[in-house]
């Protein structure tokens, strides 16, 4: 069979960069295949995808060596328009891709550009709307849709063109876990109905593997590191070495059999926990599980933030966005607030910060009602860090940016400088203090935005999706940094997130919201092994739960807790090794986002 995509000795260098981003790529992909491309940020995986749809080299200029053929054409010659008939690209940013004013118009966008007559357009739009189950939303504006629905529209918008190849650029980055799972199922369904080849670029491996994938291609530093069937790949250590997170149950089994002469075997079908043969490893898991010690993580400190009977609606006759929320947070806690998009998480943080006024109820800080305090006054005690650092950074230079909050409060220049230096040291940004913000990597910018809040010495830090769109390495970097702040400075940290890994690994407690109600307030391990709560809040049970059940462990949440504790000790040991050795090479990272 002829390959539908073929890279031959292919290299690419961005015009603005010194080094090529892709080196000598050789890759064949055949019709009907479903391929996952995985790799950390800056590995070249998105560059690889952009070569296929001709954005490279047509929109992002650079030097190409070697050949690439897609559906018998050379993308560089066919151009972006030429390739758009063959390759449908679904971008990570569902808001950016939603161009039409309504669902129907967005689905029709490619047809409009092709000057397809209106009657034919109606027909094709209806057909594709059905395919992505959006038929009853045709007149809705993007603002009325959830992230998952917008993504369905994006998908429909490219399927309307009878493409041969579907390209997904990090499709799960902005979705809550349950919606992500449904997206993967939908892709699978469409693949069964239409003759297509699917290419998914994503680092959330476990979520993509929810449905069968033919091959996983691991990319790093511009080269293909591995190209194997999932069952084979998962048995090796390639993923871990490349900084890609394995499915948790795989990691757990690997921990359990470490030291023994056992190896994970492809014949046991490790691709899905549901269908995997766990028996050969069961004894090891049970033994390992009892060896790990559970730390006591009870926090008995004084309450720092109390929320009492809190309710909110945008206007007195509008439906309630939050009703009767109650919880107490103690000094030094690190906890997560989770729930699907629109569950009321952001509204809750807006109420705490004073952007909105509650309809009913009280918020106490250190036992005192904060309702008389203004937004600015609250900001001195409760710091808010937004999702994207670009939404906060307003000065071109790092020192100015971090000192801004103090400067507008009239703190003397001398003191500002001292406090900024001190904060930059804590955040590991001191060596960069005289740099412009744009010379930093995304992760470093994130730390700048956290530093600009920390400099005001808040008692509580609220972070909105601190790790959204980050690969495993940056994720770990940011989260370890927050953990350090929490442990060493005793800072209380609240994270609003839909990242289940984050919640499991770094927080001791999870407050779960669904439809404006607080439905659970418990340890993350308990939340993620509680089927009912997980369902209502659009969370996803962790695969460790399935592993525990399959191994016959009575309390699945204990396996989860012990797994997390074990991972933490591993990470700590590794970090001490790192700091003992040479310091991490920081500095400029040419990231192409």
């Amino acid at each position: 069979m002829e390959p539908i995509i073929e890279f031959k000795n292919f290299s690419f260098k961005y015009r603005a960069q010194q080094e090529p981003t892709l080196y000598d790529i050789n890759l064949k992909i055949y019709p009907g295949e479903k391929i996952l491309i995985a790799g950390p940020s800056g590995s070249g995986k998105s560059t690889l995808a952009h070569c296929i749809n001709a954005l490279i080299p047509c929109s992002f200029r650079g030097d190409v060596k070697g050949t690439l053929r897609v559906c018998g054409q050379e993308p560089a010659k066919a151009g972006v328009f030429g390739m758009s008939k063959k390759v449908g690209t679904v971008l990570q940013d569902t808001d950016g891709q939603f161009i039409g004013m309504t669902v129907a118009e967005d689905l029709a966008f490619a047809l409009e550009n092709d000057a397809v007559p209106q009657n034919e357009m109606y027909e094709r739009v209806n057909k594709v709307a059905e395919l992505v189950s959006m038929s009853s939303f045709l007149t809705h504006a993007p603002g009325e849709l959830s992230g998952g629905q917008k993504q369905r529209v994006s998908l429909g918008g490219v399927l309307v063109d009878d493409v041969d190849i579907l390209l997904f650029d990090e499709p799960l980055a902005n979705l809550d876990p349950a919606t992500g799972k449904r997206t993967i199922a939908l892709i699978d369904e469409i693949l069964k109905k239409e003759k297509l080849m699917v290419l998914i670029v994503e680092h959330r491996l476990e979520d993509v593997l929810y449905k069968d994938v033919d091959r996983i291609i691991v990319v790093n530093e511009g080269r293909i590191i591995a190209d194997e069937r999932p069952d084979d790949l998962l048995c090796k250590d390639v993923l871990e070495q490349q900084g890609i997170r394995e499915p948790l149950y795989i990691t757990a089994i690997k921990h359990a059999i470490r030291g023994s002469d056992k190896k994970l075997q492809p014949k046991d079908a490790p691709q899905h926990i549901e269908s995997m043969r766990v028996e050969p490893y069961r004894e090891d898991v049970l033994r390992w599980f009892t060896q790990v010690e559970l730390p006591n993580r009870r926090n008995e400190n004084q309450p720092i933030l109390e929320v009492k009977n809190l309710s909110f609606a945008y206007s007195p006759d509008a439906p309630r966005v939050l009703s009767d929320i109650n919880f107490t947070i103690r000094r030094g806690e690190m906890l997560s607030i989770v729930g699907k998009n629109g569950a009321g998480k952001s509204t809750l943080s807006s109420l705490i910060c004073g952007f909105y006024r509650p309809a009913k109820g009280q918020i106490l800080l250190n036992g005192k009602d904060i309702s008389p305090l203004s937004v600015k006054e609250r900001g001195e005690q409760i710091g808010l860090v937004m999702q994207s650092p670009n939404q906060m950074i307003s000065k071109p230079m790092i020192m100015e940016e971090v000192g801004l909050g103090l400067a507008v409060r009239g703190v003397p220049a001398k003191e500002i400088e001292e406090r900024v230096h001190e904060t930059l040291k804590i955040c590991g940004l001191y060596p960069f203090r005289n740099w412009p913000v744009n010379a930093l990597s995304f992760g470093q910018k994130k730390r700048v935005s956290i530093a600009s809040i920390l400099v005001m010495n808040p008692q509580v830090l609220i972070l909105d999706e601190p790790t959204a769109g980050q690969d495993y390495r940056h994720y770990t970097e940011i989260m370890e940094f927050l953990k350090k702040l929490n442990e060493e400075m005793g800072l209380t940290i609240i994270m609003i997130t839909h990242d289940m890994h984050l919640m499991l690994e770094y927080t001791d407690r999870a407050i779960v919201l669904a439809d404006g109600h607080l439905i659970t307030d418990d340890t993350p391990a308990k939340v993620l092994t509680n089927e009912e709560a997980a369902d209502r809040a659009y969370l996803k049970k962790t695969s460790l739960y399935d592993l525990a059940i399959k191994c016959g462990i009575e309390k699945p949440d204990e396996l989860v807790d012990r797994f997390i504790a074990y991972e933490r000790t591993l990470r700590r040991a590794k970090q001490q090794e790192d700091t003992a050795g040479t310091g991490k090479a920081g500095g400029r990272k040419g990231e192409n986002r």
Binding site: F81, E105, E112, P117, Q391, G405, M456
Partner: protein, 276 residues
């Protein structure tokens, strides 16, 4: 945030008209209202506007907030004219009928008041037509219909994108402003003018910068889906002009012509009750 006018789906003959019909009507209406100072024409226009407003089944609460703004600006403008040009009316109408003395040397004349009455009437001819236009025109169909009257489709699509992204930008602006306010950066508040401007810069810069990123994402997404590859383009939301559209267009033109003829037949755009 101020509540702004927005489209609301309803089924009236005005809603069913094409966006471009309403736009042309609106432009003709604006021209007539700007040119005529014939009080009878203005009165007729107000009557027609109000009748149309009623027929569009627009609820008062949809427009009440904006109507307040209209009144505020109207009062400011009228006061400004009265203070700065107290005898503008006398110049126009060529007479000076003192009603009373406001203070020394400052007469309140019937001519000035009549002139101001005309200015006020102009506001009331335009405001209802804007309300009708904004709340009865489907933005999708409007952008699509622009290309019908010869606007190049690239430009029509700029209008579509503007209408599509106003709510998104508004949401971003609110979130960014809130977060910066929590850091202590407020636009209002007591500070020197220069500080207020630099603070505003600190709020607008992140908004502008995220918008610039957005521009590149959206352009790529549009290019990937073939925008701009052909000389022509069809529109999903475009509607054919119906009999109703032609009737409205014809009536608008006829009305404009009649109104302007009546206004200018004596060589002056002003209706002068003070003459003779």
């Amino acid at each position: 945030m101020t509540k702004l006018l927005s489209y609301q789906e309803k089924d009236t003959w005005i809603h069913r008209l094409c966006g471009v019909t309403k736009l042309l009507f609106f432009l003709l209406w604006c021209i007539t209202s700007a040119l005529t100072y014939d009080t009878r024409i203005l009165a007729a226009m107000i009557a027609i506007s109000l009748a149309l407003f009623a027929m569009s089944k627009t609820e008062w609460k949809q427009v009440a907030g904006v109507f307040k703004m209209v009144l505020i600006f109207m009062v400011l403008n009228v006061v400004a004219i009265f203070l700065l040009s107290p005898y503008q009316g006398c110049e126009i109408y060529g007479s000076h009928t003192v009603l009373f003395q406001w203070f020394a040397g400052h007469d309140v004349t019937a001519e000035e008041l009549f002139y101001l009455l005309n200015v006020v009437m102009k506001y009331f001819t335009i405001a209802p037509s804007i309300f009708i236009f904004m709340v009865t025109t489907d933005p999708s169909e409007f952008a699509a219909s622009l290309s019908r009257v010869g606007v190049p489709y690239m430009a029509s699509y700029s209008v579509a994108i503007a209408l599509r992204y106003i709510p998104d930008v508004q949401g971003d602006f609110r979130r960014i402003r809130n977060a910066q306010e929590a850091r202590g950066i407020e636009m209002s508040g007591k500070a020197k003018l220069k500080d207020r401007i630099t603070r505003t810069a600190s709020i607008i810069f992140p908004l502008l910068f995220s918008s610039m990123e957005h521009i590149s994402v959206v352009s790529n997404a549009m290019e990937l889906r073939g925008f701009g590859k052909k000389k022509t383009r069809t529109w999903y939301a475009q509607r054919k002009l119906q009999a109703g559209d032609y009737i409205v267009l014809a009536l608008s033109v006829v009305f404009t012509v009649i109104a302007l003829v009546i206004t200018f037949h004596d060589g002056s755009r002003f209706y002068n009750p003070f003459a003779g």
